[in-house]
Assembly symmetry: D3
Amino acid sequence: MYYHDKRLQYPVRVEKPDPLFARQLQQAIGGIEGEIRVCLQYFFQAWGARAPNNKYRDLLLNTATEEMGHVEMLATAVALNLEDAPLSAQEEGAADKVVGAVMGGESTRQVLEGMMQRHLLSTGLAAFPANSDGVPFDCSHIYASGNIAADMYCNVAAEATGRTLAVRLFNSTSDPGMRDMLHFMIARDTMHQQQWLAVIEELGGAATLPIPNSFDQRQEHQRFSYFMMGTSRDGTPPPEGRFSTGPSIDGHGEFYAGHFEPLGEEPVLGPARPLSGAQSEQIDSKAIAAE
Amino acid sequence: MYYHDKRLQYPVRVEKPDPLFARQLQQAIGGIEGEIRVCLQYFFQAWGARAPNNKYRDLLLNTATEEMGHVEMLATAVALNLEDAPLSAQEEGAADKVVGAVMGGESTRQVLEGMMQRHLLSTGLAAFPANSDGVPFDCSHIYASGNIAADMYCNVAAEATGRTLAVRLFNSTSDPGMRDMLHFMIARDTMHQQQWLAVIEELGGAATLPIPNSFDQRQEHQRFSYFMMGTSRDGTPPPEGRFSTGPSIDGHGEFYAGHFEPLGEEPVLGPARPLSGAQSEQIDSKAIAAE
Amino acid sequence: MYYHDKRLQYPVRVEKPDPLFARQLQQAIGGIEGEIRVCLQYFFQAWGARAPNNKYRDLLLNTATEEMGHVEMLATAVALNLEDAPLSAQEEGAADKVVGAVMGGESTRQVLEGMMQRHLLSTGLAAFPANSDGVPFDCSHIYASGNIAADMYCNVAAEATGRTLAVRLFNSTSDPGMRDMLHFMIARDTMHQQQWLAVIEELGGAATLPIPNSFDQRQEHQRFSYFMMGTSRDGTPPPEGRFSTGPSIDGHGEFYAGHFEPLGEEPVLGPARPLSGAQSEQIDSKAIAAE
Amino acid sequence: MYYHDKRLQYPVRVEKPDPLFARQLQQAIGGIEGEIRVCLQYFFQAWGARAPNNKYRDLLLNTATEEMGHVEMLATAVALNLEDAPLSAQEEGAADKVVGAVMGGESTRQVLEGMMQRHLLSTGLAAFPANSDGVPFDCSHIYASGNIAADMYCNVAAEATGRTLAVRLFNSTSDPGMRDMLHFMIARDTMHQQQWLAVIEELGGAATLPIPNSFDQRQEHQRFSYFMMGTSRDGTPPPEGRFSTGPSIDGHGEFYAGHFEPLGEEPVLGPARPLSGAQSEQIDSKAIAAE
Amino acid sequence: MYYHDKRLQYPVRVEKPDPLFARQLQQAIGGIEGEIRVCLQYFFQAWGARAPNNKYRDLLLNTATEEMGHVEMLATAVALNLEDAPLSAQEEGAADKVVGAVMGGESTRQVLEGMMQRHLLSTGLAAFPANSDGVPFDCSHIYASGNIAADMYCNVAAEATGRTLAVRLFNSTSDPGMRDMLHFMIARDTMHQQQWLAVIEELGGAATLPIPNSFDQRQEHQRFSYFMMGTSRDGTPPPEGRFSTGPSIDGHGEFYAGHFEPLGEEPVLGPARPLSGAQSEQIDSKAIAAE
Amino acid sequence: MYYHDKRLQYPVRVEKPDPLFARQLQQAIGGIEGEIRVCLQYFFQAWGARAPNNKYRDLLLNTATEEMGHVEMLATAVALNLEDAPLSAQEEGAADKVVGAVMGGESTRQVLEGMMQRHLLSTGLAAFPANSDGVPFDCSHIYASGNIAADMYCNVAAEATGRTLAVRLFNSTSDPGMRDMLHFMIARDTMHQQQWLAVIEELGGAATLPIPNSFDQRQEHQRFSYFMMGTSRDGTPPPEGRFSTGPSIDGHGEFYAGHFEPLGEEPVLGPARPLSGAQSEQIDSKAIAAE
């Protein structure tokens, strides 16, 4: 179960509110690269952990719980960036307090047009679990496959896109408070990339491949297991690289590359049946007669 | 641009139709681990490729185009598994032709209840781009971040969950035709896992880390960059492993682990403003007076 | 504005409740071929009508209002089919009252497994605005383009898929009450297909083409306006038919067909910029130097 | 920030695994009545709290943190109900271990057809954040309006539908372990309903109305503020009740009821403009001439 | 069934078109606080009404039908606010007719950038069923639980957030026509809040609690039914208030508060099975041997 | 299966990058009127084709494959319009290179506010499969009904809304490169409208009606098959037109119009059952007594 401490994991402060940055920060809350995603992803991986012992369950719980604190920090940052945001195009005074008006020379109306309207209309100047376009986070992005190696690569992918986003946000703002918060978060993303790769290493590195490694590779069509398939219509082979020659990454085969021709035939499905709701032209007349 | 050949990439045949397996195969078409996802993901990564040269654009185009052929094979497999499926609980004869009735001793009604109803009601016994629960594929799952290393890990993750799914489908069916198709597809997933990892290796392996590697790490809060944060409320440190001691995977630091205490304070947001739609109790009375 | 009459547009009765048919009927409520969709589609087309006079606004309002009554009929039919459905696998008695147990010889548990679980868990044995897989209706399917001819074809498409669904439902049930309701609804779909096509005819038939007909066709690349493009990689032309030779449907040109070769070049995007969050390998070194 | 304890908030045990009940429990995890929803809803309300002091922020944090533990319990319950579930229709032995086979007399195939396929194909027999139809939870259901009274009613609504769901789940199972877990959860829902209503009472009860109470009611069209509008087309007034006569709940007016006639006119929108993509027939010819 | 009157329920006029306000109004159409939601919510509650008599069905039908008229008014308001909106950044003249250009001093391009692009690209300057970010309304927000008290609280919640939104829109505009429309709509939201609370009162007020009141409370774990659970990790109790001492709202118990310690154990799931698609490291070796 | 050519189907060039136009072009990629939709729609129709011969399967494959090339062109166009877009409000220099700054006199901040933030934050200045509001494309819009005539009308509808969108985009830009690309795409939409209508003609034109034409019309309630139903509450008949008198479009009947009165009764659902989670007030007391 879980406990809370009223204090934030790391200080969050905003020197000059910026409603546009509030909109951008939403991507780190409710975007597919964001923190709700990793938080729930690690939780669900932990809760379904079937490894022989509970070590990775523990590891995942630690980091999931940490990530919940990141969502809190970001939500706080959004609210602080919306303090003093205009509530109406008529509210002239308000805009002077925000970055756009001060530095961008924008009118209240222009500041307002650059805002996420739902910050004004739906939340009362607070964060909500959606991305920077207002698309709500949807939990289909919680990857927890039941295969620990697959999950670890999903986690590396999440932290790689997450740190890319955090760097872009860092580059987007000049507010010292926001930059301080992000230089902590970027460091944590660095660690999280490392730790999931460390689990892969601990599980044996290349020995985890191919994923799942519990499937007997003799049951796959091994002629195609290390073949770089070219689909250029003029027969140009695929580009050369580490993936086209030499030993495969898992050490079980040799890469090779080439053009590919269809091995199957043109498929022919049977005609529609009389009760199937098709047009008469699609229906087998013999079937009709037989009815 | 693109061209087609009417023949399938690999033969698809079904010895005994199985409407339940048709439902399961939908996961490989429209599931998040499925083939529409990787097809479009590789296409969008290719179309936005900004690498110094176009080598990876080409690589991605080859595999994206291959994957479109996999969607076609799976859609064909779904339609073949639905041939002879019952269209109504009254249609007694039909059920005898499908696996459930023959082997499972099910009545037509029972076969029908185990089907995806939209195969009957919406598609006329054909595949559609949704998963095995009928949830339509949604393109938020197309990961193309503009960072090539992040994208490659997204691709490994997709192929790892994809091969896990393909193995589960293989284990679910005993139809020789379906097993033959899947033993080709599993082999291709093996290759695709390898090839994206090979790109990582070609880009320098650990040198790609942390992703993005173009961000000056001096701007991150390096004290926390290789720290395994423990969030156990009784101070129990996180589990020990490759991720808690020793050199970091990127070689830029040393892992260490420990308990973490909040560095921030309890956040205090300003009161609501008079025009914000809050309750009076939430609104700063001075602000009201000042109006 | 709108008014209601407590009576149903057409009688709805169920002789023998069938929870499986309740699940199937959901497709006609909340499916993309269903009645909420056409109801809201016609309303939004009406409310945005900019035709020179309000005739089509009126027409649309009449049919939209009619469709709201169809949703009501279907929701009533779902509830009636769920009367006496089992609430638990332990509730043995209940199942005897439903079709599956009576005719299919199913146990209470089997009847329950064939049900939509949300009928039991979320609605208390009533309809909800989702399709037969429980996917909620989403209003992106409300097509109202601001172009009246485009909208009319969207409406024909909706009624064509709608009547196909209704026919499949009719074929799926043998309940006299349900068949009576559906033979009314199928008739209405017949009419609605006709009426939207009649509007096309009234607007001039072929003269509505190409849609929008307000765009000066001299601004389109007319060499390709009536060309059936072949993309077979071996140069096989597309199949022959009404679409490959003879006058075009709009009468503005002649169909012709052939193989197509790329007219463009391989695209080359510029390298990534230093602050863009890409990997260093993707970034223009000159840009970095210039910073 | 947040902390975890590896132990569960309350014991979770399953005497006899039941894959159908695993599917039903998903509704309590990822359904709109479920625990992810209330957990995140209370968190976002807390993080955006602008009440004069932080009391309600604290209250919300306590209960949000509690709810995260409920998600964990339910996810554990799903995994335990899936232990021994069949992985394939061919896997005859497995089914004997689950309730359906033992008590329902179902074959392995029938057990499998009653399962959520994604439990087998996507998660490796574990929970995922979706409802009992496999529809992923989407965060548009996190209601946090910035108005504390509105939010409290949203919370009562969530706990009322949540307890209704929990009761239905309780009634659906006869497993002593599951009933024990649910009789704890139902008690917690009881409390949560009470506590949010207690906040309403603390805020003044009727004095919170109408919500928001910060809006000057003289600016609303007060003639219609306590009027029960009848829309029966034959002029039948709405039913009589507490809502049609007597003092209004907020004490600011008197309820009255009656039939309503339109006060507005038929709307007439201007014709489409030449560049708007409409059909020529929708476009103002004068506008064309003027171009 | 339903009938229409071509006239609007209340006059809708716009003195000066404002494309930004058109975007904001979308929230009241297709937002979760909007009118499509309450319209369909009341309809589905009515259509599934199982109260002993049909009184509440009638009540719900009256208000659902009223709400359909509100959607119509808002859609008309959006279209009127888009009259004269620019169709292109090149269309200099157009902008002069809209508020942004006149009062905000914006160029045509700036006006255009502040618009919802789909108003231009998808609808031909009309409303569509999406919120102010363009996210389509999705019917998962139609709450109709089959429990009348739960539904009434859902309705109060909807009208509370709805009136909050309407007040924010009122505060956002200075157009006399729009303010007149909204002062009617705000009044109606006032009434609807009252009327659903009146139903709760009529059903017995506290006697409706806990919801559902048909569940025998002896089957819940009553020690926890009125306990305010504290989850602060340092043992700080939850804040004091109406919810922590004194009689519970339902009168069935006494509130009390305190810190909570886990009652459960760390969960241990069994190892993965050989055919489950897990990594070998997750699989029980004995199970493999036994195969 | 499929093949690729690295060259584009038609040249794509941008003279002056315009980030706002990049946002608008997204609608043609991931909007419901866009190219991913038609591409996948034609593919799924082809893959499920059950016509007596494979002619229409071939036709669909040709055009689906063509459309994939259109997605590629549009994605390239988006990336080119984002070259030189600002990455931060501080990045003053960048804005000078884009249209908004040059022609609209906008500051970097204003250019940035008009951009789709995810172009900056999520994609690294490239396209993604979402519409102009950032809503991801979702495959529920792939219409493939199993009825060939219904599908053809779905295709006409898609190309009619698609060409309307393309015309609006053409009118929105003055860039010669973009106009050249669009005048090719508009021509292709012209053709595609024609070709699907040509298939309807080839299938017999009116003989395809009503869709599906395989349903025996004697089973529909023919009194209502050609009746224009009026729902005006004062009995005003629907407007007169081609749809109210004269022969029906299918030639099977005569249109007629009139007012409609309910044929059904007020529905009465049975009371709730004791275990259904309803309130006691909704539950049949006899049922309780009988338990």
